[in-house]
């Protein structure tokens, strides 16, 4: 570990300020927590808070063009009320893209978490020498950024290159075109599952390791099988972890972007508005309409809040709450 650049001076300054604020050393500590929080709060305000507020502001504005729109002064920015929101919500592409990610989520979340849970349980059960190897191998994709992962899978999906279609052809079957409209959703989902399974497996495995061994041992002496132990003891104990991985997978689903964006040039079947975030991208960068993009962003953010907190409330989880 080398020196800490950029932040260190700020941090030390905070500490100094704190000492100065506190005449009776160690007595009144009212300023201390704020000093510790200061760098985080400054960064948070500058790079999360302000942009979010700014996006909200932009979503209420619009650019009005007059005439041919050439020449100076033919564009004015003005208040738009909620018109950007009505435009987004009535856009004929919006609902289909929402429906698409709902379906996508129904594929990705259960398969990814199911796979992660299965692998975590298998490794935890310690019934195979392949455990260590599998743990490392399954975790490996987490090190591959989504853009590069999509690129690799993009190659593997092409019939001319895919070893899978070689195998299928060898067996006399014709490989399906994964970019056809009936398969493309699975093609994108597969990349997300591949990239996300390992991380979730590690989370669940970490939780499994906290279960005292005596618990399973006692059950085993009572004649319970591995499957029964997993279902009756292990899964209920790690349920809070499962819930949290579920919430984070849900958030990731709502934000799916990099995979379809990277695959798009390879396929006829991925439109510019394939997912809601792609619609934001289209509005901001292709249509040059940052105001509509901001409105869609706000809609997505609100939906994410509602869904994740709604779910947590539903299952009565107290994660995300404070413990004081």
């Amino acid at each position: 570990m080398t020196t800490l650049p950029a932040v260190t001076p700020a941090a030390e300054r905070s500490a100094v300020t704190t000492a100065a604020d506190r005449p009776g050393r160690g007595r009144r500590r009212s300023g201390t927590p704020y000093a510790f929080l200061a760098p985080a709060l400054v960064l948070f305000t500058a790079f999360l808070g302000a942009p979010v507020v700014y996006a909200g502001y932009l979503s209420l504005r619009r650019v009005k063009v007059s005439g041919l729109g050439l020449g100076r002064g033919s564009r004015v920015e003005q208040w738009a009320g909620l018109s950007n929101y009505t435009r987004v919500l009535t856009d004929s592409e919006f609902l289909p893209s929402v429906g698409r990610i709902a379906l996508y989520g129904l594929i990705v979340v259960p398969l990814m978490l199911g796979g992660a849970l299965l692998m975590a349980l298998l490794i935890d059960a310690g019934r195979s020498r392949a455990g260590r190897f599998a743990r490392t191998a399954i975790f490996l994709p987490y090190a591959v950024p989504a853009v590069i992962a999509s690129l690799l899978w993009g190659f593997l999906y092409l019939p001319r290159i895919s070893p899978i279609s070689d195998v299928l052809n060898g067996a006399g079957l014709s490989a399906p075109n994964v970019f056809s409209s009936s398969w493309v959703l699975y093609a994108v989902a597969n990349i997300a599952i591949w990239g996300g399974m390992g991380f979730n497996m590690i989370v669940l495995y970490t939780a499994l390791r906290t279960i005292p061994g005596e618990l399973s041992e006692a059950a085993r002496i009572d004649g319970a099988s591995d499957v029964q132990i997993a279902l009756r003891i292990k899964i209920p104990v790690i349920l809070p972890s499962l819930i949290m991985t579920f919430v984070f997978s849900l958030i990731a689903t709502l934000q799916v972007f990099a995979e379809p964006m990277t695959l798009r040039p390879l396929a006829n079947t991925i439109s510019a508005t394939w997912t809601p975030l792609m619609m934001v991208y289209r509005d901001a960068f292709i249509r040059n309409d940052i105001h509509a993009a901001a409105a869609t962003s706000v809609v997505i953010a609100v939906a994410t809040f509602a869904l994740s907190f709604g779910f947590l409330k539903l299952v009565g989880s107290r994660a995300f709450r404070q413990e004081d």
Binding site: A46, F139, A143, L152, T304
Partner: protein
């Protein structure tokens, strides 16, 4: 733990478990295997020889990639190391201070601050990139290293994790004892709490490292000068050169392989630190 290991040593091996685990591993390794093999092929062989037959052109490909615009690829790698390394280090440190304060102090506004930070977890990077650009442009910082580094230093998720780690790993009594000995708050944090939080901080570091390395939009929008690009943006540019230029597939594939290698090495060497108990807070509550 010792008991658990002892119990497991006595358990029988299960072939079914082995088959499932190997299948899972094979699924995860297939694209990695492909990229390793593909990077040994020349441009002509890439599309003509059997997919999983390796060839001998790895060094030619690396040389061609290194030659591209005077070794620009290696500059991208160095930039990535800078963005992700420095960004994640700073982020872990900022998160540690914030998490420590949230876990170990009671103060007015605490729950408001914590809830705000939690809400930040839910905001996608793609949405932030444009307003971040517009705001940074006001202070003339776009198209600089800072434009990518500074926004990368804040991680709401890291703060959330650090709060959990601090609450779990730093007992209040230890801090009280340190204060009794006359240590200031800063001293108590830096000398006592920080070392105790270290395993958790490595996790936060790795977490943010991956997040920065994965965030394509931010550098893509912020940087106009390709000497400042991280490797992901650079490779994507090699791939999409526009209609009038040929795509540089062999370079992209070789570049993808080389860019993933250091990260894989980092992950494997720090694997024992991966203890992400997302629900630790929930269990305690």
């Amino acid at each position: 733990m010792a008991v658990a290991t002892a119990v497991k040593a006595r358990t029988r091996r299960s072939p079914a478990a082995t088959v499932l685990l190997v299948l899972g591993a094979a699924y995860c390794l297939l694209p990695v295997l492909w990229v390793v093999i593909a990077s040994t092929k020349s441009a002509g062989e890439l599309f003509s020889t059997f997919t999983l037959t390796p060839s001998t052109h790895l060094f030619d490909n690396v040389a061609a990639l290194s030659d591209y615009r005077g070794g620009l690829y290696w500059r991208w790698m160095a930039n990535t190391a800078l963005y992700a390394g420095v960004g994640a280090l700073a982020s872990a440190f900022v998160s540690a201070m914030a998490g420590f304060a949230l876990a170990r102090y009671a103060f007015p506004g605490k729950s408001v601050i914590f809830n705000l930070i939690l809400a930040g977890v839910l905001v996608p990077g793609v949405i932030l990139a444009v307003p971040q650009y517009l705001l940074l442009a006001k202070v003339g910082m776009t198209n600089t290293y800072w434009a990518v580094l500074l926004p990368s230093m804040i991680s709401p998720y890291g703060i959330y994790l650090c709060r959990i780690f601090a609450a779990a790993a730093v007992p209040g009594e230890v801090l009280e004892a340190a204060r009794m000995d006359g240590a200031g708050d800063w001293h108590a944090f830096a000398r006592v709490a920080l070392p105790m939080m270290r395993p958790g901080l490595v996790t936060v570091f790795l977490f943010q490292f991956v997040a920065i390395w994965n965030n394509f939009m931010l550098p893509y929008i912020m940087l106009g000068d390709d000497r400042l690009f991280p490797v992901t943006v650079g490779l994507s540019g090699l791939l999409n050169q526009g209609a009038t230029q040929p795509a540089m597939y062999t370079s992209v594939i070789t570049g993808a392989l080389l860019s993933v290698l250091p990260l894989v090495a980092l992950f494997l060497s720090l694997q024992r630190y991966w203890q992400v108990d997302l629900a630790a807070g929930a269990v305690k509550a």
